[in-house]
Symmetry: C2
Subunit: 409 residues, 2 copies
């Protein structure tokens, strides 16, 4: 059983954090660096962007997550993504890890790094190293430290994204906490830019990797804000075992509990990421049922929430189902268009708008009432099997354009 | 040699047209129906949307273009797309062709139909048939008739899209004319919603089909406004042979001349479609050179002009090359990211912003000056071969959202 509790990355035993302003971002008050630290080496797993242009920190972290059993710290900066920065960019990520390691008395290879922000510029290393030096003495296990870190990793996000849950392994209470940031350049194949998950459970690295991959595939990889897959997308999990619970080394009840916790955490954060998409006013969910296979269900759900025209219609509370059917049609999925039913639903109720691939007459007034609330779901029934999939997106608004027309200034 | 002349679909010999208001669209003055008629049966070729959800008129026309040698008329309505309308929708397209054929004294199968507008509603058949009855007596070979037809096929377009050219076949002057409409729901796999090309050249149907396919692949299929592939995309060519030029029946100089005319016409209209994309303020061209193969060049060019983030940056005159590199990276194309050079150019000059996959320091002022004009080109050199490709798109603006948030009202 999974219980939601207050907290973030510092909720599990043995995890410390800090977040503060180093001075990378414009403005005078925005926090822009964060650190997470485990008192003991933690089993590590990660998933990363599939973009061929990937940032220097992704290169650094991928090596650690793939080749090492453990890591013990993560240092994050916002403002500059350290992507498209070549060898110098890589050396800067390495130097950040080395300096963090030196101050924490760890090998550099125990330190993961992450960056997000503008692509193509080199990190201001004096500011970064100064930030590292300020972060280390500020590390604490407090609730406030988690909040500070969650705030420091944000870019165009409008609010912090945190969660913590409790679960049981071998009768012992374990905790999992996480923080993440969105909110543009987001598309299937890593829906978030950055997500950091901590847990005091102990788990075999192979199992942790496998379950992380499976959960991300159903959560972050089913989110789209704008169809643009970032260069920096990173999800990292650190499992330090400090709960004292027995180490999970096989399939079974305990692994299921850990997986359920991971699913809860990632589903929540993925939805938060979609809902807080740049300029978004609505969480727009596509729930496809009755599919002949998983790939068909996933492809259709993702195509619906990615369509600019459908997203603009959701913003306008316009029951323009033609666009939704059109987005399904060009998705590449193979299905019978003449069997499709679509019902739009929200907390205001639900209304069937498509029946057998066509649109019977409906009450515009009733549709408008149902499309009014902040969370809208398209329930798409294919009548061609029993497989389902869910994808999360948001509406396309004036503010998306505003935010992105001049992001750097 | 291809010579541009004034005119549209009525420029070639033997083609008549008409355009008028039948009363499908809201408002009181918008023209919403058009007709094109050839005095003699014309060799027909067509390319159509690849969307699995395709409109009823596409189903009707595809059969004619694939199974018949000739057609003699096209009737078009705007306002309602006749897509997702099931069997009734198909019967309505058929009835429109039948009534047009009856009045023109042609078999229904000599009449092509096209619709564009809102998806999911049935055509108001009384209005459509009334429109057909008014169009037939209005058909003339005049310049004004071409203009009226070009105006009547528009939806959210801001201006008419017409072109006419002259070329020579066997020493005889031939003419080709065309009209098309954009401007949302546009993406590779048929960049326009509707395009009608007329010519008084005579050509073997197999050769016409082949050349049309090749030209569309390099022109309309390289255009994107919003990534949404329409249900109604249709390009039709009618070649009636009334120039008196010898029929083109083999490869050679004459076929090359016809192909060059087709290329000129489709390139012009494809660019017009991109430039007049919904809400667009800029034509944004990606020209990829130095690619190892055609597919890589095309994939990269299309990914650049399709990226919402890159398009928003172009709107903001923001030299945010990171987004462009990012869009290349997630395109799926295989290339060496560390060899990429990018130069942005316009009539104001050019500036190299990416060298070897990284961004050297540059003058923001100079970049702003170059990104100011209405036509911007990204020149992307891969240094990995000698193949090139061009794709055309537009910027993403507030007005795109405004137009699409409540299209139906």
């Amino acid at each position: 059983m999974i219980t939601r509790i207050d907290g973030g990355v510092t909720a599990p035993k043995g995890f410390l954090a800090a977040g503060l302003r180093a001075g990378i971002k414009a403005g005078k008050t925005n926090k822009d660096m964060a650190m997470v630290y485990s008192e003991v080496p933690a089993t590590v797993a990660g998933t990363f962007t599939k973009n061929r242009v990937y940032a220097a920190p992704v290169k650094w972290d991928r090596k650690i997550a793939e080749e090492q059993e453990t890591a013990q710290a993560v240092v994050v900066n916002t403002g500059i993504a350290n992507a498209a920065t070549g060898e110098q960019g890589y050396q800067n990520s390495k130097k950040t890890a080395e300096e963090t390691g030196r101050l924490l008395k760890l090998p550099a290879e125990q330190v993961l790094v992450a960056s997000t922000g503008v692509i193509g510029f080199q990190l201001p290393m004096d500011v970064i190293l100064d930030g590292v030096a300020k972060l280390v003495p500020n590390l604490t296990h407090s609730r406030q430290a988690g909040l500070d870190a969650a705030e420091a990793i944000l870019t165009t996000d409008t609010h912090k994204k945190e969660i913590a849950v409790e679960f049981t392994v071998g009768g012992v209470k374990c905790t999992m906490g996480a923080m993440s940031k969105g909110s543009g350049m987001i598309h299937p194949n890593m829906g978030t830019m950055l997500c950091f998950i901590t847990t005091d459970a102990a788990v075999d690295q192979g199992l942790l990797r496998q379950k992380l991959r499976e959960v991300i595939d159903e959560t972050y990889n089913m989110v789209s804000v704008d169809g643009d897959t970032s260069t920096n997308d990173t999800v990292l999990v650190l499992a330090n075992g400090m709960s004292g619970a027995p180490k999970i080394e096989t399939e079974g009840e305990d692994l299921d509990a850990l997986t359920a916790a991971l699913t809860e955490v990632c589903t929540y954060l993925a939805k938060q990421t979609a809902q807080d998409g740049e300029g978004a006013t609505r969480l727009f969910t596509a729930h496809v049922t009755g599919a002949p296979d998983r790939e068909t269900a996933r492809t259709l759900a993702k195509s619906i929430i990615t369509s600019s025209l459908t997203k603009a219609a959701i913003f306008g509370k316009d029951a323009n189902m033609g666009r939704l059917l059109c987005a399904m049609g060009y998705s590449g999925a193979e299905y019978d268009t003449e069997l499709v039913d679509v019902t739009m639903s929200s907390r205001a109720g639900s209304i069937q708008l498509v029946k057998g691939g066509t649109m019977p007459p409906f009450s515009e007034e009733e549709a408008l009432r149902i499309l009014e609330p902040e969370e809208i779901t398209a329930e798409v029934e294919l009548h061609q099997g029993d497989v389902e999939a869910t994808a999360w997106g948001c509406d396309l608004t004036y503010d998306y354009v505003k935010i992105n027309a001049d992001y750097r200034s």
